[in-house]
Amino acid sequence: MVIIDTSALQNLFQLLADEEYQLIGPRISDQAIVYDRIHSPDELPIGWTDEQEAGRYRLKRRNDSHYFGFVVGPHSWKAHLHVPVQKLWEAQRDGPSFEVRLHNDSPPKMAFIGVRACELRAIAIQDRVFLQGTFIDSHYQSRRKNLFIVAVNCTEPGGTCFCTSMNAGPRAEQGFDLALTELVDKNRHVFLVEAGSARGQALLERLPHRPASEADRQLARTLLEKAAQRMGRQMETEGLKERLYENLEHPRWQHVAQRCLSCANCTMVCPTCFCTTVEDVTDLTGETALRIRKWDSCFTSDFSYIHGGSIRSSTSARYRQWMTHKLAGWQDQFGTLGCVGCGRCITWCPVGIDITEEARIIRESTVNP
């Protein structure tokens, strides 16, 4: 582990750009911190933080100049790996037949700047869905394979955070190339940097750096330990899967449905939700046809449509599907929970439905159908 000055961020950005990485990182847009193309550390939300509660998100000025003094916003990195709209293939009519060609969009090499521990876990979970099953999603794979990840350890968790409950943070343990811990006090503002891969190490050696002292490491450890104790939320997962499966007809599903608007915000902001739909389209001549894949949500009525109507016509069935999948089904399907404790679904729910509260009520309930 080494120490770099904040000015070395500029060098880091430059080195990545020189290696033809497209940099994507946090910046302020429409009063929220989103992940977008950035070119310089000056574009980072320096001196800003975010206040988060159920159904509430506000940006606020900090009284210091932290580069990463906020948690996570409405965007997640999945928008850059499992993109919201993906052309899958294009078909050309050929006499009575047709020829289908896989769409190859040759994505740029990307470097993600400021990936939190919970988001590293979310990326690992989507890797399992798209890369580690019977079938491989070539579109996800082409974006994922050249990805460079600069992680940032969370020293100030937000009001809806519960990554510790999901064993997903606040410290970035694996799945990054470089991990930064921001150390700020009266006398200095530096980053403690850890390399997580050979190419991370190689890049780090080209940055102006100095060895980290034991005191620096200890400070980072303390900050992270303190952060782990200040999570805004928590979720007990022991036995949760079984309890959810046993309680598919629990009255709580009706209760939450009285508030749930079935708006799909939770699924859009969730960094692991992967469901999609496809659209088949043609041009006016009818000579070419496209298939496009788009993010979809289990909260829409179309999602479960089969001949005759929607299987899940009620909001309670849709909320049950989403939460039971996230916290139970995922474990059977992919050997991991589908939740990383980032708290986005709580913050961005327009009516402030809290997955940790809903899960607790089902888990602690003794009602069995």
Binding site: A91, R93, F98, L248, T276, S304, I306, H325, D332
Partner: protein
């Protein structure tokens, strides 16, 4: 599936014949249009069928698994894509991806009585089973087909049913919900045929396909006869967009119907089947 092939890319298949089955149901026989073809299928599996520019739907394979090269699909026109398929003619080309999903337990059925229970279009995914049972008849105990249809006019595969009914080594019973015209056979739900069927409940495999409610009550009746749940198989249906476990639409409890299904051993899904809106 050829190795170079992305699982989302349909292969062109030419329609060899279009057979009208009933007012709203028809059977397409498909042959590869460009040389490339999908891999062999097992009874109970399905393909994704694509009409150029219109859309794609999951349809079970209703043909004989031992006939290679040809694909047979029996389709009911119920939505925009299947209605467009109803207008297709021999010589036209459609796209095929597959085969996908689990299959009926024909291996386990060997040496046992086999009870096939179908409701409506549910007979289509079971027809590959019946072809296999007839072809290797000596490997199985008693073979029983119980088939329920809405009306006599909705009965599928009439000629084959008649042929099977005439065999001495097969029991075929048909019932209709509503008798019309000169129907003189059974009237009522298919579950009523189960207590009368001559099979050994302790040494049989039951394969059931039809509307969920019909499967649910069929299983209850089979259990009443003493058939253990692990000897009963059903085939489930949900919305499907990809058939390869990515789109999430076909989830049923912990399962993806495109991967772990459509054919499930009953005890896998028992706790879900009587719940609403799963």
């Amino acid at each position: 599936m050829a190795a170079r092939q992305d699982p989302m890319i349909p292969l062109p298949y030419r329609i060899e014949t279009v057979q009208r089955e009933t007012g709203d149901t028809f059977t397409l026989t498909l042959v590869p249009a460009a040389g490339d073809q999908i891999g062999p299928f097992a009874a109970g599996q399905f393909n994704m069928l694509y009409i150029f520019g219109v859309g794609e739907v999951p349809i079970s394979i209703s043909g004989d698994p031992s006939e290679s090269g040809k694909l047979v699909h029996t389709i009911r026109a119920v939505g925009s894509v299947t209605r467009a398929m109803q207008r297709l003619k021999a010589g036209q080309v459609i796209g095929v991806r597959g085969p996908f999903g689990s299959s009926w337990p024909l291996e386990q059925a060997q040496g046992n009585d086999v009870v096939v229970i179908a409701g409506g279009i549910g007979l289509a995914p079971l027809r590959p089973v019946l072809y296999t049972l007839v072809k290797y008849r000596e490997r199985f105990g008693k073979v029983i087909l119980l088939y329920g249809s809405r009306t006599p006019e909705d009965i599928l595969f009439r000629r084959e049913l008649e042929k099977w009914r005439q065999r001495f080594d097969m029991e075929v019973s048909i019932t209709v919900d509503r008798a019309t015209g000169r129907w003189r056979g059974n009237v009522g739900v298919v579950t009523k045929l189960i207590p009368r069927a001559p099979f050994d409940p302790y040494s049989c495999i039951a394969m059931v396909c039809g509307p969920e409610i019909m499967m649910y009550y069929s299983v209850l009746s089979l259990k009443d006869q003493g058939v253990p749940t692990e000897c009963i198989y059903i085939s489930m249906e949900r919305n499907m967009k990809c058939a390869i476990g990515f789109c999430g639409h076909c989830q049923y409890g912990p399962y993806f119907i495109c991967k772990e299904g459509p054919v499930f051993r009953y005890d896998q899904v028992e706790s879900l089947l009587n719940k609403r809106e799963i």
